[in-house]
């Protein structure tokens, strides 16, 4: 190598290429964290994602161990493999985080989400909505003469599919819980 062969005013290299050439493919991972249920712990996790520019597709949290005061946070995130590794390492160093599991890597896992969906319509559309709900095993939890609220549980893409079908039939509102997930087997 010949040192100092700088061409004056050189623009040979892009200075933007500051990231190493890791894989660019975006992956979707489901992470399960066991955290101490202390004030601010959720803010720490969310602050990490916003502060470092990571994505959150879905996040759920609830205390799962009432005596040990442990909560389980399930996060669905997307990123390149390198970003996913960083996310896990960064989560792992938050002091009240006990465990970080990547269910996508450690899997197979079971993912479930609950949604309630309001569909407003009359006549043929109303009948069709009911028929589809039956196929998707969605329950009617409220109805008026011109509306239904369906309750559906399943993997997120099943809920997406159901919502897509309901849209032309008068879907007006959706509320989703976000993903809860567990590894299969023991």
């Amino acid at each position: 190598m010949t040192p100092l062969n700088i061409v004056k005013g050189s623009t040979r290299h892009s200075a933007y290429n500051l990231r190493p050439t890791f894989s660019d493919t975006q992956e979707r991972h489901t992470l399960a964290l066991l955290v101490e249920n202390e004030p601010g712990v959720l803010a720490r996790v969310i602050g990490l994602f916003s502060g470092r520019g990571y994505n959150i597709e879905s996040l759920t949290v609830a205390e799962v161990d009432h005596t040990g005061h442990l909560s389980r946070i399930t996060i669905v995130t997307t990123g390149t493999p390198q970003v996913i590794e960083q996310i896990k390492a960064q989560l792992g160093r938050i002091v009240p985080v006990h465990d970080v599991h990547d269910l996508t890597v450690e899997g197979p896992s079971v993912e479930r989400e609950l949604a309630i969906i309001k569909v407003v319509g009359e006549g043929e559309k109303r009948v069709e909505a009911l028929r589809l709900a039956d196929i998707f095993r969605a329950n009617v939890v409220d109805s008026t003469l011109n509306s239904f609220i369906f309750e559906i549980t399943g993997a997120p893409d099943k809920i997406d599919a159901f919502a897509d079908l309901m849209r032309p039939l008068g879907l007006v509102e959706v509320a989703r819980t976000g993903v809860a997930a567990l590894l299969r087997g023991d």
């Binding site: 190598m1 290299h13 892009s14 500051l18 803010a43 502060g51 590794e85 160093r93």
Partner: protein, 583 residues
């Protein structure tokens, strides 16, 4: 064992039980009960700073120079917000400090009470961890846990927010016990990875050690083990700004600092090596330059206690998560057990290649008999102080880089500078903290005039506590580093990079009751420096230096290690428009 006492008393008791002897602080309504308890005892010295930022930097200086956690105590609201810069600084440089803030009483939290701020909310991203203590019974255990978190694993700043009613109320105090918290970072490295590193050491033809602040943070044993390994293998070693002193500057294998203003031979060794052993450094952008051209042909090993540092920026081949001292001990053990092998012939050739680069003499500068060159001032300072029991702090700018280049550090914990955050105003209060910890040592803050003015109020602290800190100001009447970038990147348009109304530093010193020395003639420099050293008290040394000197070598932003600029002649139009977007 538990005892009943007030929250305020618990704070003082817990500090004592944690071995704290010095607290840097500033009182206010929300911490008055704690100040009352401080008044009633003599074990802990409280140093009244002049600004809360100063308290935190002083605690950092104390921590960096002793290896023990530093402690700061400030009031709610503005006291806490003034501490934020220091907390961020400590987070970036992994400095263990414990900051105690007062808070409005629990029953007023959320009511926009006088001097209320959401301190734990504001400081969540700039602490390693923080706590709002809502009942007095949990105060002592939280304090003990805070010291545990600040000092274990990768060290960092923690904050405890203590509402005033919690300070007044009584509760049960518990003495420190070995931590039962789940937070227990792993210290030992994986033996398989360590063996892989040893195998790489045995066969490397062009190895280099690249060390960082992690070696210093790991403690004196880590520096000892590093020296043993480096000297036994004969591998060259460079260090980041944060790691200076872990290996002695006079050591045979020392290459000098690397990075943006690092030495030519250090950067080229990094670029051309075939084995890079990163010990407690983090591939910061000041170090790597352009990522895709960073040391293209090397196998890389990385020893770090923080798993998130590994593969964050640079993909490494041999990742070792663990404490530097623990890992180096095992590396040495395995390497010795396998017969202390290196490829001595090739390493020797590598050393002579490096010796060739060294001949470039990258720190050469044009001397002057008329004006004091800043490099010359530091060379003289080094010559006249190196045999003293000396500690150096710095501000941020050109002077900081020159200090790193021209001063030599023989031991760890002797060099305190703001690396990750680059905080102007750090050096002076840090020198106060260092001097508190080492009352008889020669403590010098190498400063730029602009940085120094950012926390100059701490002159009051230095004078009040008779701290003989030496403020060695390289006064170029410029925001020198900004000016240098404007020259190189912004067509010499010097937008707001000089001060037109600098104070008379000698009179300023005298106004505070300290000594001021002005020196502008190179012929007077040695005498003036001696006068500073020999004066028993704080000194402001106004060293009037060349105004337009640039700091070289320099790897411009967005360039690779082997695209370094060595001097003025090479600077014209060298940073392209994309490079100028970077900081």
């Amino acid at each position: 064992m538990t005892r009943e006492m007030t929250g305020a008393k618990m704070v003082v008791q817990a500090l004592k039980d944690q071995g704290v002897d010095t607290v840097f602080g500033y009182p206010g309504g929300a911490v008055l009960p704690i100040y009352d308890e401080i008044f009633l005892q003599n074990d802990i010295r409280h140093i009244l700073v002049r600004h809360e930022q100063g308290a935190v930097h002083a605690a950092e200086g104390y921590a960096r120079s002793t290896g023990k956690p530093g402690v700061a105590l400030v009031t709610s609201g503005p006291g806490a917000t003034n501490a934020v810069t220091g907390l961020t600084d400590a987070l970036m440089d992994s400095i263990p400090i414990v900051v105690l803030t007062g808070q409005v009483p629990t029953f007023m939290i959320g009511s926009d009470a006088f001097q209320e701020a959401d301190t734990v909310g504001i400081t969540r991203p700039c602490t390693k961890h923080n706590w709002l203590v809502k009942d007095t019974d949990s105060l002592s255990s939280t304090m003990h846990e805070a010291f545990h978190v600040a000092t274990s694993g990768r060290p960092g700043p923690v904050l405890i927010d203590i509402p005033k009613d919690v300070q007044f109320a009584t509760g049960q105090y518990s003495t420190p016990k070995p931590s039962t918290s789940h937070y227990q970072p792993v210290l030992k490295g994986d033996l398989e990875e360590i063996t892989e590193l040893v195998a790489a050491i045995e066969t490397a033809k062009k190895p280099v050690f690249y060390t960082g602040g992690g070696v210093i943070n790991s403690g004196p044993a880590a520096s000892q083990l590093l020296r043993e390994l480096v000297d036994a293998t004969g591998f060259p070693i460079t260090s980041t700004l944060m790691g200076l002193g872990a290996y002695p500057a006079s050591g045979e294998n020392w290459l000098g600092m690397l990075g943006m203003h690092g030495l030519y031979e250090a950067n080229l060794a990094m670029h051309d090596c075939d084995l890079m052993i990163n010990v407690g450094a983090r591939f910061d952008d000041r170090i790597t330059g352009r990522i895709d051209a960073f040391s293209p042909n090397s196998k890389k090993a990385h020893i770090d206690i923080d798993p998130s540092s590994i593969n964050k920026v640079i993909r490494v081949d041999i990742p070792i998560v663990g404490d530097v001292a623990h890992v180096l001990e095992d590396v040495l053990k395995v390497w010795k057990a396998r017969g202390r092998k290196t490829d001595a012939a090739n390493v020797k050739q590598w050393q002579s290649q490096i010796a060739g680069w060294r001949k470039v003499n990258c720190l050469a500068y044009t001397a002057s008999e008329k004006t004091i060159k800043p490099q010359h001032a530091l060379q003289r300072l080094e010559e006249l102080t190196k045999n003293h029991d000396r500690y150096i702090t710095t501000e941020v700018g050109q002077h900081q880089m020159w200090a790193a280049q021209y001063l030599g550090f023989e031991d760890p914990n002797r060099w305190m500078t703001s690396g990750g955050l680059g905080t102007m105003g750090y050096g002076f209060p840090a020198s106060v903290g260092v001097q508190m910890a080492h009352p008889d040592a020669l403590v010098i803050n190498v400063a730029g005039e602009a940085s120094w003015l950012m926390n100059m109020q701490e002159m009051g602290t230095a004078v009040q506590y008779r701290l003989p800190v030496k403020q060695f100001i390289l006064n170029n009447e410029r925001l020198g580093m900004v000016r240098q970038w404007q020259e190189l990147l912004h067509g010499e348009r010097y937008s707001h990079s000089w001060s037109e109304a600098l104070p008379d530093f000698v009179k300023l010193a005298e106004a505070f009751g300290a000594k001021g020395i002005l020196c502008s003639d190179p012929a007077d420099l040695d005498d003036a420096i001696m006068e500073m050293i020999n004066y028993d008290g704080p000194v402001i040394f106004d060293c009037v230096v060349e105004k337009h000197e640039n700091c070289f070598p320099m790897i411009p932003s967005g360039k690779a290690h082997n695209e370094m600029l060595l001097g003025e002649a090479e600077t014209q139009g060298v940073i392209d428009s994309k490079g100028s977007v970077l900081v």
